[in-house]
Point group: C2
Chain length 405, copies 2
Amino acid sequence: MLKTKVSKRLGKIPASPIRKLVPFAEKVKKRGTEVLHLNIGNPDIKTPDEMLQVLKNWKINPIGYSPSQGELEFLNALEFYYQKIGYSFVKKENIQITLGGSEAISLAFFATADLNDEIIVFEPFYTNYDSFAKASNIKLVPVTTSANNSFHLPAKNQIEKKITKKTKAILYCNPNNPTGTVYSKKETEMLIKIARKHSLFLICDEVYREFIYDGKKHISILSFMKKYPETMILIDSLSKRYSLCGARLGTLVTLNKKILDGVLRIAQGRLSAGLIDQYLGKELVNVPVKYLEKVNKEYQNRRNILYEGLKKIPGIFLKKPEGAFYAVVKLPVKNAEKFCQWLLTDFSYKGRTIMLAPAAGFYLSKGLGQDEVRMAYVLNSEKLKTAIEILEKGLKTYNSIINSD
Amino acid sequence: MLKTKVSKRLGKIPASPIRKLVPFAEKVKKRGTEVLHLNIGNPDIKTPDEMLQVLKNWKINPIGYSPSQGELEFLNALEFYYQKIGYSFVKKENIQITLGGSEAISLAFFATADLNDEIIVFEPFYTNYDSFAKASNIKLVPVTTSANNSFHLPAKNQIEKKITKKTKAILYCNPNNPTGTVYSKKETEMLIKIARKHSLFLICDEVYREFIYDGKKHISILSFMKKYPETMILIDSLSKRYSLCGARLGTLVTLNKKILDGVLRIAQGRLSAGLIDQYLGKELVNVPVKYLEKVNKEYQNRRNILYEGLKKIPGIFLKKPEGAFYAVVKLPVKNAEKFCQWLLTDFSYKGRTIMLAPAAGFYLSKGLGQDEVRMAYVLNSEKLKTAIEILEKGLKTYNSIINSD
């Protein structure tokens, strides 16, 4: 008798660079060392009371299915939200509620690309895009961006030369995870031009829309969607905006009717998003404007602390992030993954250590990002300062050991 | 400039026969007619208080990500559950928490079958299996079962002749949705024998495990899993057991380490299941045994009402369902889908009508199930009796119109 074998494609799903060091962190915690998590974008900022109040007042029983497109009240709340930020053309019927931004990206991939088709991304990119692509049997084609240029887009011809007959879409994330880059109007218009010239979909992940610093203006794909209704897909989520990562609340927004019909059929297959989560989400209409203003200010302050703190550490290179709550940081080490692991297994400072995400997993091109990490500033100022101190001490110790070997 | 085109595979995702008539139901509700829903397995029975109490007492803030495998306390609760039903070998590390049973099935498909591979199913089958298969670019190969035989399995050779080089797994649902069939030990052993002989995975969907009537015994795939650890995958869910459909709480259980590792990597890509939902789920350890006993008794009583009531309607054929809360019912009409639509658009009785799921969508073989519907007995006895009365009157009126045409 032969043995059963798992599928070949299962073996191709990459381990998450954000979560792969988790077992080491668990071990060190058991030894009593505190781990400061800068590896994952899991905000420490409180969820709005208006949303949590829903739980206290819960009346619905039983907890039944929600409509596959989404709970009507939550759809209404989102219509209100998009209207409030200036896009009143976005109606309920243009929105598919998803189980987190994650499902929205998976759906966008499936809807735009057939087997072995290609989607262009800018590396370093949010690493899970590649998991979704592999699960959907499509290929991500990376266009490399550079730390020297604050990870802004390269020239048009650098992007266009990656387009083949199999290319179906361009995906970008604005503000960018992992780099914190906020793309200019000019950059956005360049992407639209390329997409239209080559008949590609333009997919934009804007889950960090609210987190833009130094008075910069965010250029949403929504400001072009009405003009190019067939071409554009917005990926959105409440996770970061309202510190709701554990409520799986994403959206896919498009004016393309065929995409909406198709993703709804897929959504019907998986029945519904979470009922309770959507009831939390619908309260966004009652969250005061000052909540987001305060959150924005807090992240900007942390960004400053991180940037100023890291700049002082010898051998570290980074440019000032413009948005989101991440930075890609070049470290004075050869192999950042080994260093990140070492920080967990062999190092602590005053009973604490830090967990970072090695950045190589955010690149597809082999060899890139080996000396980089992604840091998420989802810790309060005090903890962030401690984390920077630990990093400095850690680098010093690590390099003295390495050099004495 | 060419136009952007959605992917070809998007067009192949079938519309859900359970949900496709929803727009007609919405319209009729707006006209003031009450619609009794027998189309969808969305239980009316109350969710246990022990679970809802979690919401009242909610303390966690912010609502952050849960570990990708699942929240530890919920994993512990599930370990406790499987131990309680006699399978103490099922440990936390053998469980992947999923966003509903739906995601568990998708993961099982992806993990066992490569592109264009085949999985054997018994038709009529839970229609969304085909959505997941299409989304995963694999092919379901149906083995037909018959109403005359209460939809029990056909002879071994009937199943084996569908096995090709591309077959990777056999999927069955026990107790069965949509037929209510409960497979015997002999049938289960036959499937195991076939799976082992041909090196196939055996995937069993047991989300209705608790709903078995007339003192029958349920034969779980778990009772063979220890003996054949590489071969078996259990799909499970809290949705039906505790009336928690709107909390997306499924599980994939296997002793196959390669599958567990692979599905965890996919799960890491989508980050986490819902935090709040999992906290509800973990309360299963505090739900008294009598809750499930009462629920079981209630469904058995409804099953009796449905069966006895339908048997009296001229031209209707069904055998007594043995478990779950569904029945596939043959109606004296040529095209059950047209009839179901007509019930919504053109018929009402005392201000009410019924919504049924046309069964053709539960078959892959063309032409089968045209005169069948799936009925879910998720209404209380009184409403169920009314629904049967509406069906009887509806059939009479419909056939008199059809025959006078």
